[in-house]
């Protein structure tokens, strides 16, 4: 019988990495493959402490290529497998995740962004947006949730397993070093006790019966001989993906109507954006916020309508234009002026967002 990991809801105060380990357990993940890289290490540390108590397993692989491909093997065998990485590890992870995209494998990967490019810092950034949304030699047929709080890290890690197994696209939870290492309160819960149905996993290979006799052999490839053959296969995936975008795309916004300036930010930066918007609105300044929760697929119609509603948009991120590129593409053709606040590899405070907004609106603080 399945053992419930969280018997009853409880408030916890822990680091984001610990949150991910608990969420993976609550989502009934079965096996993790990982390779050490800061700032995600403690996901493995907590998982390796908790997992044996619940009959789950872990393998520390020789690198992130192996972690990603072994996770692909794990899901193909019909087990909820996942991995976690960051930075240069995320670069290596793109190879297995490209295969997952091609073969529609429900691999879940948690990314705790660190500074880039190259080794850079082990601390924090939002510079892995390009890589996580569009890494690989394909079309980015994947789902990326960008979390802002520990509660979301818990909620969306659980959701990532469901999304991956329901739609069979690789699914990412995009956190960062701050979220990985900081402690804040959240509520741990059993998803089923809250009515969240956990999607059952099914094996791709190793199913019941003798292949060729009781059933056709299950054979999966990522190679195609003819352009037309690939085109047909890819377009079928693209159609699948586009069909589910309305179900998948998530966003959060407030105060759009009548606002002059919309401030757009994602992930942990959204916390500063929200605070700045609250402060400015208290002072009667007409600003609103818009936060894409899914960076892939992006909530494009909502962004378009936002750009029709406001005169100006301020895009704020701890990267040099990775979110901005996605947003400007989404709102292409709208009249709103685009402004930016880019601080690659550095945290952004509400004060900085507020100051930039005042500058744009020419409303200096006396």
């Amino acid at each position: 019988m399945l053992q419930k990991v969280i018997q009853e809801e409880k408030r916890a105060f822990m680091t984001g990495n610990e949150v991910v380990a608990w969420a993976a357990l609550a989502a009934r993940a079965e096996i993790m493959f990982g390779y050490p890289i800061t700032p995600q290490n403690e996901i493995m540390h907590y998982w390796t402490r908790l997992a044996p108590k619940y009959g789950k397993s872990f393998l520390q692989t020789e690198d992130e290529l192996s972690a990603g491909f072994a996770a692909a093997g794990g899901v193909m065998s019909g087990r909820k497998a996942f991995t976690a990485t960051a930075g240069t590890g995320n670069i290596l992870m793109q190879e297995p995740l490209s295969m997952a995209e091609m073969m529609r494998l429900p691999v879940v990967a948690v990314i705790q962004q660190r500074g880039g490019p190259s080794t850079a810092t082990v601390i924090y950034s939002q510079q892995e947006v390009n890589l996580t949304t569009m890494g690989g030699n394909g079309e980015g047929l994947r789902i990326v949730y960008s979390t802002a709080t520990h509660q979301e890290l818990y909620d969306y890690t659980i959701k990532a397993f469901n999304t991956a197994w329901k739609y069979r696209f690789p699914t990412f939870v995009l956190g960062d070093g701050y979220q990985a290492k900081m402690r804040e309160p959240l509520t741990l819960y059993d998803p089923e006790a809250r009515g969240i149905q956990l999607v059952e996993q099914e094996p791709f290979v190793g199913q019941k019966g003798s292949p060729g006799k009781d059933r056709p052999p299950a054979q999966y490839r990522n190679t195609y001989n003819l352009e037309e053959e690939l085109f047909e296969k890819l377009m079928s995936d693209v159609r699948d993906y586009e069909k589910i975008i309305p179900e998948l795309a998530e966003f959060q916004s407030s105060g759009v109507e009548g606002a002059e300036l919309a401030i757009v930010g994602h992930g942990v930066v959204f916390r500063a954006v929200r605070e700045a918007v609250n402060v400015l609105r208290e002072q009667g300044i007409k600003v609103c916020y818009f936060r894409p929760v899914t960076l892939r697929p992006l909530p494009v119609p909502q962004l378009k309508s936002l750009a029709g509603e406001v005169k100006k948009i301020l895009i704020v991120e701890s990267a040099y234009g990775q979110l901005a590129r996605l947003v400007t593409e989404a709102v292409y053709g709208a009249n709103a002026e685009i402004h930016t606040l880019f601080k690659p590899g550095v945290g952004i405070t509400s004060g900085e967002v507020e100051a930039r907004a005042r500058e744009i609106l020419q409303k200096p603080l006396h």
């Binding site: 402690r183 309160p185 930066v269 405070t349």
Partner: protein
């Protein structure tokens, strides 16, 4: 919307900066409030100045790190240099009055400069290792960020396993906590502290300061 209390601590490895930050945040969480604690971390596992950012609020907390602290605590001369950028006109700046070499470097722009003889008090009255608990008390005294009762519970939670082995440590830590509160509550007003400590290169100044705090002990006894 209530404003979050922003507390930043800095010190040398082994001074227990991260423990203080964690206890503060845990205690606030136990009170059912919003709390966020983040250490600074880098490739240096050892040897750098240890920084901790804590925020406590009744509303959702914004970015994990901040530009200006309501309270900034520096426990070593290196920490004084490292913390200057986080000080503003509204900042209460707490430092150990016994540290050498940083006197002229204290941030004069701070709203309030509180030099406290925490290291000396810990060493003379308790045990050098409860130094960080004295500091915890001082932060509570300066901010009322958490109640003393909750602080005791958080200390109990963090160190309970040690207390179980040696129960006398409990009283030692709790007394150090209250002593820390007292150090701040009876500290002179802005400017005075700076002067007192600027003069305190001789033993006389420190002795005076310590003396003036002895009587404060009973004052804070009823704080819980």
């Amino acid at each position: 919307m209530s404003k979050a209390i922003k507390i930043m601590l800095a010190g040398e490895g082994g001074q227990g900066v991260q423990s203080v930050a964690e206890i503060l945040a845990e205690a606030a969480n136990e009170e059912g409030r919003q709390a966020l604690y983040i250490p600074n971390f880098g490739v240096e596992q050892r040897g750098g100045v240890s920084l901790a950012f804590v925020q406590i609020s009744d509303d959702p907390i914004g970015s994990p790190k901040f530009q200006t602290g309501d309270v900034v605590v520096a426990l070593s001369d290196r920490a004084v240099y490292r913390t200057r950028q986080y000080v503003g006109p509204e900042t209460t700046y707490i430092y150990d009055s016994g540290m050498q070499g940083a006197e002229g470097e204290l941030p004069e722009n701070a709203g309030r400069l509180l030099g406290i003889p925490a290291i000396e008090v810990a060493k003379k009255e308790f045990h050098p290792r409860v130094f960080n608990i004295v500091i915890l008390g001082a932060i509570i005294g300066a901010t009322d960020a958490i109640t003393l009762k909750q602080a005791r519970a958080a200390v109990e939670k963090k160190l309970g396993y040690k207390f179980a082995k040696e129960p006398s440590l409990r009283d030692l830590n709790f007394a150090a906590l209250e002593r820390g509160v007292g150090l701040v509550r009876t500290s002179p007003e802005p400017g005075v502290a700076t002067r007192v400590n600027a003069d305190s290169d001789g033993a006389g100044g420190k002795a005076r300061a310590a003396e003036s705090h002895v009587s404060s002990h009973s004052l804070t006894g009823g704080q819980s």
